[in-house]
Symmetry: C2
Subunit: 321 residues, 2 copies
């Protein structure tokens, strides 16, 4: 089958990758559309040593699910962590942190930038008919945005700043706006800031914000400067949520964290069901975030486009554009 | 009056410091005993630009309290943050983080390594007769240890590691042990580890602990290596509490925090009333942590002793030893 293949920090198109065969408990999914995430761009830069097919945001149709035939023909999205359900972490109720997990297109499991993928049936969520392929590819990152609220409950009285106006920052802002909090997004790109303004979300340059005054700051820039700014903006006893993964270390003044009793919170994958619900109800509206669509065979062009300054979501399509 | 004086990272004894005069709302306290904390040692190293009398752990007698005569003659300890009660942070219920605060012996307020200090009356707590001067000097750091439980409630089912067997680590361990959690202290000093063993608290070398398996890790070493170890030991979705302030930055792999959804929690001053209660009831027993007592006039020797490898608490005494 056709697939994008990452090896030694180099990406190429292959047409000779064997179509996967679902092991027991898993489904074979024909990928219809997949989104390029910053994590994919970071994988290519070497953030994590992955060899194989990247891609973890997708929508597709189940073509086979041995022993779970009811799934065949359904349109699905899928949670990306495949857990063992027997290790101590799984049994403690944290399967997304399973120590033996594989992660779609990120760790130990071939991903979605291909004609087919396999995932455990338990990871699948059916996509309601009202949701387009395009919108459905945003279920995974919308779920990741909702993880923030699972970890740090937000109130309408909170002053919240999102740093980063990119595709993740936009989804985070859209989900946080639903809480009624006083929300401001910090960004640099006029076109991206305009997308937020069009939804009634306030935007600002960093210099315009009062330091040490935000209850919660979400770092979505994908670089170390974002954390430094977040720590400038957060109030004493406030919370900084870290959403972006990137290669390399950053420096931190630990004493400032201690003196101000700030909480730093790492945040990753989130709940799919409420993400689907928000997208179906139109409360999260992702389509304006699509920069471009490419057929899978032009995957290298798609990655180059996604890496361009100012780009938002780039989609890879199997079949007619 | 006699006082220890810090200026340009250099400490000296002065006998010409004017005795302070309490402004309205404050009390004049004759210091009986004061403890040297690692923060004091870090102040001398330049962790924070403070000029004047250091020292923030003390017990003393109120000699004057204009308008609050009921306090005169009482033996007291004192909370170290003097708040304005009018700024937004104070009005939001976080007076220990008041943006205009002064902090005894740390920021904008002369400290306890002197014959006298002044503090707002509202900061004072009377010391019950059953508590010795020595034990009373431990109220402030015991309160700081209790701040951990205020920020991160701990259950008897939790696996908890304290990194650092120094004076703060010992108090933190004693307070955490009261929760019934499965507690282990990591340290290097045989004599200090023996103090913990004598109280039935398990100790271990870092290499003996399973990585990624502790629910909560408290960093009390006062150096950057402690944070790195804490991040190795904490489980996914676990919490690392940072208790120690020290000069300089440390490096951090932000992506690891994100992927493991770890919480980093800065933690500083805590509640005095329960600290006094635990000391009175003997549930926290600090006296074995006293390495030495020096008269105030030998304050430089006392600091040298406190900085020595293996030293625990060094006390400065006004009056007969």
């Amino acid at each position: 089958m056709l697939a994008l293949w990452l090896e030694d920090r180099s990406l190429r198109i292959r047409d000779d990758v064997p179509r996967p065969s679902p092991p027991p408990g898993e489904a074979l999914v024909r990928v219809r559309m997949a989104g390029i995430c910053n994590t994919d761009l970071e994988l290519v830069k070497g953030y994590y040593p992955f060899t194989g097919i990247p891609g973890h945001e997708f929508v597709g149709h189940v073509e086979a699910a041995p022993g779970h035939d009811g799934w065949v023909g359904r349109r699905v999205v899928g949670e990306i962590n495949a857990a063992c359900h027997t290790c101590a972490t799984c049994r403690a109720g944290r399967p997304t942190h399973c120590e033996r997990r594989t992660v779609l297109g990120i760790a130990g499991r071939q991903g979605a930038f291909a004609e087919y993928l396999t995932l455990p049936v338990e990871n699948l969520h059916e996509v309601p008919p009202g949701l387009s392929h395009e919108a459905a590819t945003f279920v995974e990152p919308t779920a990741a945005a909702l993880e923030i609220q699972r970890q740090a409950p937000i109130q309408a009285t909170d002053q919240v700043v999102v740093i980063g106006d990119g595709k993740l920052g936009q989804l985070v802002a859209q989900t946080l706006a639903l809480t009624g909090c006083a929300l401001t997004v910090v960004g640099h790109h006029a076109a991206k800031l305009a997308l937020l303004s069009a939804r009634g979300i306030a935007t600002a340059h960093a210099e315009a914000l009062a330091p040490r005054s935000s209850d919660l700051v979400v770092e979505c820039t994908g670089n170390a400067d974002g954390l430094a700014l977040a720590l400038r903006l957060v109030r004493p006893r406030g919370t900084v949520v870290l959403k972006s993964t990137y290669a390399g270390n950053t420096t931190l003044d630990v004493s400032a964290l201690v003196v101000d009793e700030v909480t730093l919170l790492g945040s990753r994958c989130g709940p799919f069901a409420p993400a689907i619900d928000l997208l179906v109800r139109g409360l999260v509206a992702p389509l304006a975030l699509v920069s471009a669509r490419y057929p899978l065979v032009q995957g290298l062009d798609a990655f180059a486009h996604a890496a361009r300054r100012g780009a938002t979501k780039v989609l890879l399509v199997n079949g007619p554009l």
